[in-house]
Symmetry: C6
Subunit: 260 residues, 6 copies
């Protein structure tokens, strides 16, 4: 009655696999060794969930600076898994909800996942889900506790398996809340460090010529940069530059405006 | 069905472009280099939103001291953009609202904007929107979180583009809340520093004669002043002076009364 | 339709000009130079609101120690202005109100004022309005934010002009909340320092003879005293003294009882 | 229509003059100089309220250690005043009330008092009225603000006069809340210090013989004691002693048990 | 109409005298001098309430470490008093009640007691009644204030007398809340210190033989122990020991398990 | 009427004995001396509850690091006891409940237990039950107080006996709340320290060969590891290794990923 169980699952809340593709609609560039290493690790964990019946629950925290590509990576992994149940929990669907509605929604997503043989729940920007702000600090303890409990709860039905993927850009702060160590596995999304990787990204995803890309890579060589930030500034610099070529000095100026 | 989408947008909340003109009804003087630089940058960002289909979301924080002209500049930019959807979120329309109504209103403004191909949302005095007070500090975490989420959310429909402009006079405090770095770009509104700029403003916007303007500019030359404060004190000084000419010593006295 | 707008204004809340006279029913003595200077400044500001169409909003904070005469001065100014709309916002009319009712009442008073061509809103003891207590400190942030917003809001209709007068006896504390600098102008109510001023007040307002007044003025010459406190102690001393003359030593003793 | 105003006043809340006598049913001993001085001062203030039409509002704080006789003194003063309106506000009538009911009740008591030509409101143990606890400290800010406002409010109708008497055993703590200086006058209830006063009290109010009283007075001569504590321990010691005479050593032991 | 007053009192809440016996169903051993001293003091206070018409209110705090026998002693005292009204206020009857229900229940118990000529109210583990936790510290201020007020309130009807007995194992913490000094008298429940007392208790209440009891008393001679803890560990040790005799080393091991 | 009492008990809440078996469905390996010692102690306590009629209440806290096997041990103990009433209180059944519902549920479980002659209540991860987070710290004081009260409450009916077993991985933090010392007995779940124990576990529960197990035991010999963590990493390492044998270096790498 596998079919039926799936039919039961009516996603009322959270993006499904197909919608997750939007998170990397500007492309997904396999830019170098550090990226390959991370992606390989993640894929192996997905595989473990798929095949090991001694792994009913697997949870992974993807941490990395702002604008480093966390959301895109997690979304791609979820889509590529092909799991029958994929659900994203994201803060913007719960704007203005009270704490208890949030807890209910999150609880519901996990309960639904328990009905599917293979599931992925993707919780993006976990600090936003718990209304975290470093001043105080303040956060929703109700939502935090709900997550802490669910991240430990093994799917009740035998044979059902669940993978939880979370992302955050402030792992040290969440650690104090016990929210990082509640995840079984923690992996880091790298910044672009190798000039060669920067060039690759600029060429493939920002349509730059070899020469422009190279001079920009050279200019920022000492400061690692997130892939999203790099693409954002490339776009700004195009606007500021005359003609179709991006000027390095304009690129650097734009970098400054975005607080780099 | 572009037309229809626009028709759908029924502004229930927030000033529209036409009403924003009131924020610079006392004139708008392009007073010098620092002003030109800022205005040029802002206009280029508006242009990027208009033309680049890789920029679905652009957010700019205008920071500057009290009485420096932030609101007028942001209002002018929004009006001049000619974007079909322009909406201002200002604290005085939400006086006495509970946190969740505020969140709803703000959310609604963003949702509405997603229906228009080109939109500007202008959030004035963002510290007031979140009920910020430095003692504690206290603020509405619910509203803060709503802003943090929406400032990151890409308009869901392909091709729709949104520019968010915020203003604040306490950027360091908001930075601690993550509210400044949530904006992609941050620009500073300058004070009047050059005597020549002060003279220009006094002549054009306060109807002063060359001579009066010059002596005032000379008297305050070492202390930069915000354009709004300059115009305010000029008006007070007129009242205190006999005849139509403004006396410098009276001007300085009035400056003192306003806590300069 | 100027007449009509005025007719619209139905004061439900707050004392009107006529009732404000009660705040100086024990007389109003123009006691000396420091008083004249303050009163002159205040009258000039009222005049500016009356005549300058570039001053739609003027706000003045009157700060001074307890028992120094703040309420009486503000009340007199409001009464003498002759403005068609005068409203006092005072804490005792809002006892036991919840925060949001308070915000509403205050908001309402300002909205009403926007309908009159010339208005004065007088907010007495602003620390009480916001439920301020230095331990914590605690205060109503909702009411504080409402005031901060309204103190900045220009009357929406062209040509309408509003003067806001606030009083406080703890300006340093309110400053931390941004509530003093939210006022455009700040002026200080002086204590009685000159023996000559003390004598004047005792003679005119406490019906003392020249000789009694003089000896008291001499006895307290080194410690400035608020006009309200001086009159209060004079009254107590009368009770304690035998016959109609007030004894200096009894006066000094009473001074002590009131914690001077 | 003086009669009618009085008729209007229907005391729903608070003990009336007759009931206040219970607070000194165990007698009231005029025990010595310090007592006479205090009582004289208090009576003079009552007299001022009765006769001076320039004293519409008089407020007195009686401070003193626990068990020193504050409540009895204030009750006696109120009863002896003969004022037509006397009302006690005491915490035990408001047990379990919410803050806003408390504020309402207190407000009501003052409003009622404004209808009588001469009134006394007696607020016993003001720290209990505001739910004060030194840890934190915590207290009801709503009730505190209500008191701060009412303690300053002059009876609105001309000629009506109100005396407010408060008692407290932690004046330093309340001072931080501004609650002591909100009273116009502050007076201190003394401890028994003179052996002669101790003897007087033991003889008159505890029915002791001269000899017993003398030896007890001698034993405690270096430590001032409150009149209520002295009488309480005398009673305990009677129980412990055999026969009708109280033994000094048993008296001292009992003193110890009560934490003296 | 003494009978009738008693009939009026319908105990809805709180254990009555008969039920209190359960608190010492395992026996009550008068184990030595320190115990006799305490019990004598307590009985004398009960006597005072019974006979002295100048003692309408007597309050006693029994403080002592955990497991020292506080509850049993207070229960015995109440039962043995033979007073017509005996009521226990204990936290487990108010689990999950809101603060205001708790206040009401407690208030009700006192109000009921005022109807009886002689009453005892026994408040066990007063820290639990006020939801006290040392972190913060946190506690219910509403319940605390209710207790502070009622502990001071003299029964309103003439001749009615009330004794309040409280117990606590954290007197220093409650002292900061003013909750210990609100009791008139404070007495300490001792630990077992004398080997002779330990032996007596083990023999009488734990059915041990002289020899076993002696060797245990010797083993713990340097560390005073509470009577409840001693009996508890004796029971555990019996389980661990083979045969009917308790082995000293097993006793010591069990002591360790209970964190001694 | 033993049968009937059992029939009365309708478990609405909490897992029953049969369901508790799921907590060790991956096997239960009696791995060595430290384990035997702990298990022996626990079994003796269960026995005491079964036979001693002087032990109506027994409470045991099982403390140990994360992933050390606490839940499995407590579940096994409860199942093996054969007691007619066994109930688990776990946080995931109360997700999103308000504080007072939680208190009610917990109270209900204890009340139900009082109806059975022999009961076990198993409270897993007690820090989650009280919503504990070390930042602040924050926790539900209402739930904490409910536990503190119930952990002390002797079953009211004579002869009924209750054992409470709690688990926690942050005993030092709970100690500050008085929640550890509220348990009568405290025992520690050990980590695997002896290579021989590690080998045993890997062979029996992870199906490893002698040789693999030995080399892994050797590699981690200096760092004790929890049994759950060991089994989890063994599973991950199997996935990463080619063929059926687990490579030590891959095992070590996986250990690193789980933050060991
Ligand atoms: N290899 C890659 N990994 C991640 N993102 C990539 C990659 N190649 C291209 N991209 C693009 O880079 C962007 C990554 O942005 P993303 O929103 O995932 O970053 P983020 O770290 O989640 O940012 P934020 O801190 O704002 O949440 C996307 O537009 C994605 O299409
Ligand atoms: N170049 C200019 N830039 C900005 N304002 C100008 C300029 N020229 C004239 N003005 C006038 O200066 C005033 C600027 O006031 P505005 O309210 O924008 O200042 P603000 O920084 O928002 O002040 P606040 O700190 O009170 O919010 C307006 O009256 C506007 O018409
Ligand atoms: N020149 C004067 N200025 C102010 N008050 C005067 C003057 N002459 C006489 N008075 C009298 O002095 C008293 C001033 O009291 P007022 O209540 O205004 O003081 P306040 O500073 O507001 O006191 P508080 O700190 O209690 O609010 C009034 O009774 C008023 O009639
Ligand atoms: N001269 C006196 N002044 C005050 N009390 C007196 C005097 N003579 C006798 N008494 C008796 O002393 C007792 C004073 O107790 P009272 O309750 O007034 O003290 P208190 O300071 O209010 O105590 P608490 O701190 O508990 O509120 C009363 O019983 C009163 O009858
Ligand atoms: N002389 C005695 N005094 C007190 N308790 C005694 C005495 N003799 C025997 N007992 C027994 O000792 C036990 C005392 O336990 P009790 O619950 O009163 O201690 P407690 O101090 O209230 O403990 P807790 O701190 O847990 O509240 C009871 O079982 C009682 O029967
Ligand atoms: N002797 C044993 N003791 C405990 N657990 C064992 C033992 N032998 C095998 N196991 C297995 O080890 C695992 C122990 O995991 P368990 O959930 O009890 O750990 P835990 O300390 O409660 O972890 P957490 O900190 O996540 O709550 C279970 O899968 C259980 O089947
Ligand atoms: Mg992201
Ligand atoms: Mg502005
Ligand atoms: Mg005043
Ligand atoms: Mg008193
Ligand atoms: Mg007890
Ligand atoms: Mg566990």
């Amino acid at each position: 009655d596998f079919e039926r169980a799936l039919g039961d699952v009516e996603p009322k809340f959270g993006a499904k696999a197909t919608e997750l593709k939007a998170f990397y609609r500007n492309g997904f560039v396999p830019y170098g060794d550090s990226f390959d290493l991370l992606m390989g690790n993640l894929e192996r964990l997905v595989e473990q969930v798929r095949v090991s019946d001694r792994t009913p629950l697997m949870s992974v925290m993807l941490k990395g600076p702002n604008f480093s590509g966390k959301t895109a990576i997690a979304a791609k992994l979820a889509v590529d898994s092909g799991f029958p149940f994929v659900r994203m929990i994201s803060a913007d669907e719960m704007i203005g909800y009270g704490d208890s509605s949030k807890c209910q929604q999150i609880h519901k997503a996990f309960m639904d996942s328990y009905k599917s043989p293979l599931s992925i729940i993707f919780i993006d920007d976990i600090e936003r889900i718990i209304d975290y702000v470093p001043i105080g600090p303040r956060f929703s303890n109700a939502v935090l506790q709900t997550l802490l409990i669910l991240l430990k709860k093994v799917p009740p039905d035998d044979g059902r398996r669940l993978m939880v993927i979370g992302t955050t850009s402030c792992p040290e702060l969440l650690e104090d809340l016990g929210l990082v160590s509640a995840f079984g596995v923690t992996l880091t999304v790298p910044l672009l460090e190798e000039p060669k990787d920067v060039i690759e990204v600029l060429k493939v995803a920002a349509n730059m010529g070899e020469k422009e890309a190279k001079s920009i890579a050279k200019a920022i060589r000492d400061k690692p940069i997130g892939i999203k930030k790099l693409l954002m500034v490339a776009e700004m610099a195009k606007q500021g530059s005359e003609g179709s070529r991006v000027d390095v000095s304009i690129f650097m100026e734009c970098l400054h405006t975005v607080g780099y």
